[in-house]
Amino acid sequence: MHIHFLDPYRPRPSLIHRLDPRVKFALTLAFILAVALTPLGAWPVYILLFSIVLSVEILSELGVSDVLKRSTLALPFALAALPMLFTVQGLPLLTLGPLTLTQAGLERFAGIAAKSWISAQMAIILASSTPFPDLLLAMRAFKIPRLLVAILGLMWRYLFVMADEALRLMRARQARSGQPAASAARVGGSVAWRARVTGGMAGNLFLRSFERADRIYAAMASRGYDGEVRAFPLPHITRGQQSILALGLGLLTLLVLGGFLFWG
């Protein structure tokens, strides 16, 4: 069993998939920045931003419901903003014992949750519509140090190998462990003992990685690797793609400016 299903990339013959990875990367970052810059309470701008993300979802042919399902992953973190409901001063809406729910608090909380949800969707579309090597190319174009990009590239190549390795360790543990009929029953010694076993597995994984890294280095050196990371020059960005980039950036700037003028 291999865990390639972890890779979120889904090939589709869509417009979004065919965008240059650099354009897509820049637009995604700009979109998330625009969402962050939009003042809290500028609900019409949020609606427009949400329309944009929804349109991109439809254009990308990834399946709107799939993207929405994945975007709920980040929602539990909204708990961190929950106290805002009661601590922000404003018009009281509801009193629960010692806590008073205020309108300003509700608006702040809803704004934070909406921002987080809209941004997560755009990030999901980027990851699902762009193969990782293309993202590396975009990172190079954004002047991220070549060594770091090379490390990330190698990490990606061995991520699934090491994840398979971890999976094998877990399967071996499962094969040697009893399983109670009642799933709630506690088995397998104390929590500390179980943690130690898991630690042993982690140590084993480390050891295997050290050894694998040595083998990989030897293989690279035998093929002439001298520490210099060489890469093909970046391809040209076509006129059409450039205009998409300009249009997208312009639209986002307008939205943010509008948000500041009317609701800032």
Partner: protein, 328 residues
């Protein structure tokens, strides 16, 4: 049980990866700048130490930490403990390599798996990669020194480094949220600190288990590290300073949440109180509609209509699309 996709937990999202939307732009950018500086320096240092081995070594170990986070053990009920890895990476690889490895792990988690936001990535790298590593290094080295390098100090140091790295990183995360005005300090600090004081025990125990295994099978890994303490004094001092600053600032901030709020306001981080330049719909009342509730409902309906109108229009243009040949 056979391993099937359903049984494999995806890299569990620990409660410390801040998603986008929770940090103000000013806080996000500040921590991006700090992280870029430290990671850039780490890149240089590791290149000096490892040379051409750097890329394969760091790449594979980043993949290893990422995969290691899938290893979990059940605690009670449905909860489970798992490894984050800052302490073990620091102890085995030295601080600079650990910063690089964790930066890659946190970066891939954000970029590919949406575990943490992209704009918030700078802060997440700072908390887990830089604070976690500096504090681990400080705690582990101090216990080693105090014990005179005796073998039990590896395990005690490992547990203490694991626990402290998680706890202090959580405090950093709570303070960033408070500075952004998304969570009041008097709630965020005790809540984040409390939860991660527990998670830290799991991290400490797994770290001990891993170190005990490696100490029994490959003692040379530890000896090589002790003969050549990389980074040295500066990292130790940085770890001490970070741990002290956060341990002092957090209770202060949580007992005087207004203080932090005041800072946030002074810096213009809070943008609720400002007056807009123009008001299209003054006080949420639609022109011509005097009832507030009705106006809010109307605005909601209008918003929903806009969203679905746009979505429908986009879908409509795609209705007769010819399949495009692709190179995939």
């Amino acid at each position: 049980m056979l391993a099937s996709p359903v049984l494999v937990p995806p890299p569990a999202p620990p409660a410390m990866h801040i998603p986008d939307g929770f940090l103000s732009v000013a806080v996000s950018i500040t921590f991006w700048v700090l992280s870029v500086i430290v990671v850039g320096y780490a890149l240089k240092r590791v290149n000096q130490d490892l040379g051409e081995r750097q890329v394969p070594m760091m790449g594979v170990l980043a993949a290893c930490i990422f995969a290691g986070q899938m290893l979990n053990f059940s605690v009670t009920g449905g909860t489970s403990g798992h490894l984050l890895g800052a302490a073990i990476a620091t102890i085995l690889l030295g601080p600079w390599a650990a910063v690089l490895v964790l930066t890659c792990v946190v970066g891939v988690q954000a970029l590919i798996f949406q575990d943490g936001g992209l704009l918030a990535l700078g802060a997440n790298i700072f908390n887990m990669g830089i604070v976690g590593v500096a504090v681990s290094y400080f705690v582990y080295r101090t216990i080693q020194k105090l014990a005179g390098g005796r073998s039990w100090s590896v395990l005690v140091g490992g547990f203490a480094a694991g626990w402290t790295s998680i706890f202090i990183a959580a405090l950093a995360c709570a303070l960033q949220l408070a500075l952004s005005g998304t969570s009041p300090a008097n709630v965020a600090v005790p809540a984040m600190g409390g939860i991660h004081a527990l998670i830290g025990i799991g991290e400490g125990l797994i770290t001990v288990g891993a170190l005990a295994f490696l100490y029994a099978t490959r003692r040379d890994l530890f000896q090589a590290r002790q003969a050549r303490p990389v980074g040295g004094r500066a990292v130790w001092i940085a770890g001490l300073a970070i741990a002290l600053a956060l341990a002092v600032a957090s209770p202060l901030a949580s007992s005087h949440p207004d203080g932090l709020e005041w800072v946030a306001e002074q810096k213009g981080f809070l943008d609720v109180a400002r007056k807009p330049l123009f008001e299209i719909i003054p006080d949420y009342v639609f022109p011509g509609v005097s009832n507030g509730t009705l106006a809010t409902i109307l605005a909601g309906i209008l918003g929903a209509l806009i969203v679905f109108g746009v979505a429908f229009a986009v879908a409509y243009t795609r209705r007769n699309r010819q399949p495009v040949p692709t190179d995939h």
